[in-house]
Amino acid sequence: MEKISQLVDGELEAHECRAQIRRLTQDPELAERWETYHLIRDVLRNEAGVGSEVARQVAVDLEREPTVIAPRTWLPARAVRQTLPMAAAVAGVALVGWLALSFHPSSRHSDSMAMQKSSAQGRLASASGSVRTPPAALSTRPSGRVDEYLLAHQEFSPTSAMQGGASYVRTVSTGDSDLPQ
């Protein structure tokens, strides 16, 4: 399996590639895995259209459903890169100072972000061959189906259990998420 993953990532030598591709053509299970890995890579890169069956299904779903806009990052990446090493350098007491520099989520849901996201989603949909209806902007992070599922999940997760109630922060957090509803 790891070889297949390396093959997808282009990390194999030429002779190894040939051997793996031969395995792929002979083993349908591996071939399916090959397609899954490609799909995962494409989703991570925000591209669509490779996994033929899934892409078609996603296109159908997208067409059926209204768009939910959940803005992702609102802070310029540069500001964080400058802040974090500084905090690391003066760790400890100065952490409080770092917190003072922390970022207030209230300014997060700007229209421009919603527009950016919607155009990105428009591209994604057109890549998979569907026609989009204009998206309706959502001013807040949705507290719907997935939130309920997050809470239900955390009840049984050892990782959450060790964090105690602190893990609930995921369900109340407003930043850096791209939750579907």
């Binding site: 599922y149 997760s157 259990a161």
Partner: protein, 328 residues
């Protein structure tokens, strides 16, 4: 005679060294496992109140957590300190969540399944098959002497964890999840904390009256109801993830049950939710995340499958793509 013995000695010595090394390795793993168990228990058994930082992606947020236990049970309060005020109160099996921005309060009832142990003893043993555990150095965190514990994954299907816990009580002071390139996916850290005295029953009461007429009450999740064999299976979960729970839960606004399967490798858990497509009001197919939790949603024939867990995208996607009813 003499020559033979000198010939034998080094190999015997080597064997001893190896046995000693292996025993030390096992000892280290055992010590790390029991320390992990202590961390898991501490979060449930101690009274504490503190301010912590939650960092995910390039976001940093501060919140305050209060935990209180007495003979009547376990109480928890989480308040966000940045941005719009949100508060979650857990009193044993009841969870109240307040959203001050929208003046909405949700009340959820948890089934008595809450007694679910933090770490499953039968899975603790197999944990070392999927993570290598290393007890680390002492470090100072939020003024406490903390002991570090690293859990490095042995494959790409789980995140690495680094935990720093109070050396005396085992309370988790800092936790970090790392991806395969050692980048921080999510991090919690206390910046101020009191353990024990000073935390009272009053400190875990809501700061808002949940019955106030100014607040809109949303319908509730009635929680998990029945443990059943749902007929749904996941064919292709990564090694180590075993099904620990299978149940049906009911959402407030629906009579249609949602199937909930929980898989666990001893540390990370993955939940699979399955509901009829026509009962799901709105959804967006694809991959999403909330902090370290990756969420993958897609339709399987007439059902909507949502797989989520504090694991890399590959794990939720691979599992979601192998969900079927009775293996069809």
């Amino acid at each position: 005679m003499r020559r033979i013995s000198t010939g034998v000695k080094p190999s015997v010595l080597l064997l001893f060294c190896w046995a000693g090394y292996a025993a030390a390795g096992t000892l280290e793993q055992d010590a790390a496992l029991s320390w992990l168990q202590k961390i898991a228990n501490a979060a449930r058994q101690l009274n504490y109140q503190g301010t912590f930082v939650y960092q995910h992606g390039d976001q940093v947020e501060t919140s305050r957590i209060t935990h209180y236990v007495d003979r009547t049970g376990e109480y928890e309060k989480l308040e966000t300190l940045d941005g719009p005020k949100r508060e979650i109160i857990r009193s044993n099996t009841e969870i109240l969540s307040f959203d001050a921005e929208h003046r909405v309060v949700r009340r959820e009832k948890r089934a008595p399944l809450k007694a679910f142990p933090a770490l499953l003893p039968e899975q603790l043993g197999s944990l070392t098959g999927f993570y290598s555990l290393h007890k680390g150095e002492h470090e100072r965190i939020a003024g406490f002497d903390a002991l570090a514990l690293a859990l490095e994954p042995r494959d790409q299907f789980r995140y690495g964890h680094k935990l720093w816990a109070d050396a005396t009580t085992g309370l988790l002071l800092k936790a970090r999840m790392l991806d395969e390139r050692n980048r921080v996916v999510e991090q919690f850290m206390f910046t101020q904390l009191i353990i024990g005295d000073g935390v009272t029953r009053d400190s875990v009461r809501p700061s808002i009256n949940p019955n106030s007429p100014e607040w809109r009450r949303e319908p509730v999740d009635r929680g998990a109801t029945t443990l059943v064999d749902t007929g749904w299976i996941v064919k292709d979960q990564p090694a180590g993830f075993r099904k620990v729970l299978e149940l049906k839960r009911f959402k407030a606004d629906s009579q249609v049950p949602v199937v909930h399967l929980v898989f666990c490798d001893g540390l990370a858990a993955v939940s699979v939710f399955i509901e009829p497509l026509k009962a799901a009001k709105e959804f967006q197919a694809g991959l999403a995340h909330q902090g370290a939790v990756n969420i993958y949603t897609h339709a399987v024939s007439d059902q909507l499958v949502t797989v989520l867990g504090e694991v890399p995208p590959v794990t939720v996607m691979q599992m979601a793509n192998s969900v079927s009813l009775n293996g069809q």
